[in-house]
């Protein structure tokens, strides 16, 4: 295990972090809409949203990635495999984040919503100014957990040929016959990244004023 190999792993870790962050951000945007739809009383909104959430939470990410990777070209969308990987991770995390947010939305005290209405906010304002911020603060710890899940799950995009930390480790291990030091180093890098995310999350949680609404 040389410094050069470790540097290669670190470079690949940048791809892991990049792919994960982009997927979490896209997933979050989709999740807000998805959770609002899932909480709607109209079946045309809540049925598809719940089906989507149930499907992406019920199927292994590996299978989702294979599905999206083969489905996109068939329906005429030819994109680089990195895009397919990000689409897969984003849709998956969107379903999990939507379920978290749904819990958050349901825990927003009804009194606050009524107060907003009495103050003269319209439903749209009530949603974006009262319910979304409070639900986000309530579900922030779950979001940090989900970020860590996605950082770990992003190792699966190695299967569709993306060069990130796991794929790099795999390639180096087979070309150098040093699987133990290389996979152990990759594990260490994942561990450090996840610890940093967890620490930053805890710090941010404190500056958000904890989970109290």
């Amino acid at each position: 295990m040389t410094l050069k190999l470790f540097t290669l792993l670190l470079q690949a870790a940048i791809a892991t972090v990049g792919i994960s962050l982009v997927s979490i951000a896209i997933g979050f945007a989709i999740a807000i809409l998805l959770s609002a739809a899932a909480l709607s009383r109209k079946p045309i909104y809540f049925l598809p949203a719940r089906l989507f959430i149930s499907f992406f939470r019920g199927v292994p990410l590996l299978v989702q990635l294979l599905l999206i990777y083969t489905l996109l070209p068939v329906i005429g969308i030819n994109v680089p495999s990195i895009v397919a990987a990000i689409v897969g991770l984003s849709l998956c995390t969107a379903a999990y984040q939507a379920e978290n947010l749904r819990g958050g939305f349901e825990s927003v005290p009804i009194g606050l919503i009524e107060a907003a209405e009495v103050t003269g906010l319209n439903p749209r304002q009530t949603f974006f100014r009262i319910r979304v911020p409070i639900a986000m603060r309530l579900t922030f710890p779950a979001l940090v957990n989900e970020a860590i899940m996605i950082l770990k799950s992003s190792s699966l995009v190695s299967v569709v040929g993306i060069i990130e930390l796991t794929k790099m480790a795999q390639d180096l291990a087979s070309s150098t016959y040093l699987p133990i030091p290389i996979f152990a180093s990759a594990a260490l890098i994942y561990l450090v990244i996840n610890s940093v995310v967890s620490l930053v999350g805890r710090f941010a949680e404190r500056s958000l004023g904890g989970a109290s609404a």
Binding site: G58, V59, L62, V63, I180, A187
Partner: protein, 222 residues
Amino acid sequence: MMFSPQIILEKLPEIGSGLFVTLILWIVGIAGGVAVGFLVATARRFGGRLINLVLGGIVEILRGTPFLIQIFLLYYGGPFVGLMLDPIPCGLIGLTIYSAAYYSEIFRAGYAAVPRGHVEAAECLGLTRLQAIRRIQIPEMALIVLPPSINLAVILLKESAVLSIITVPELTATVSAIGSQQYAFLEAIFLLAVIYWVIVEVTGRLGRLAEQRLSRLRFSKA
């Protein structure tokens, strides 16, 4: 554009054997994980600071790294330290270790979560120590531990698909191989997704049913 029925019927035995391997991996992963996880949580609670620190460190490593990396380390790294494992035993061991780390955290929380006041109240009401354990502590702990345990069981089923990467002949490996042979990869993956989805939904529903029964037990007058 689904699989034609003949292909499914023809390949049913193969799909069945893949499903069988997945279910075995799943059940062993849960059972082994619960057993080892319970031991780890108990040792951490009663075994002193050093044991708590060491086991806690191992659990954090297992929870902070991808399952795929752990499996690669075991499967490709094992032979270098004299641990030659075939894919299936490697998958069983890997899944059990992974599962044990997460179950140990669930039990740790379970130990901490039964309110002391409830045990004291039982004693004040004249229940014997054994009755208090049987009627109060175990049901309450089960109720606390059950929802995250079902959740984890579902996660383990999905993680077991990762074992296809080290050629364990489980559901994902089997069905995607059939798809490649039949030039019907998309249909095969679709079928695969539906099978997992059904198992996960059924498990979730059974879990909720068990929760309801247990919560009735909790508030029963007996």
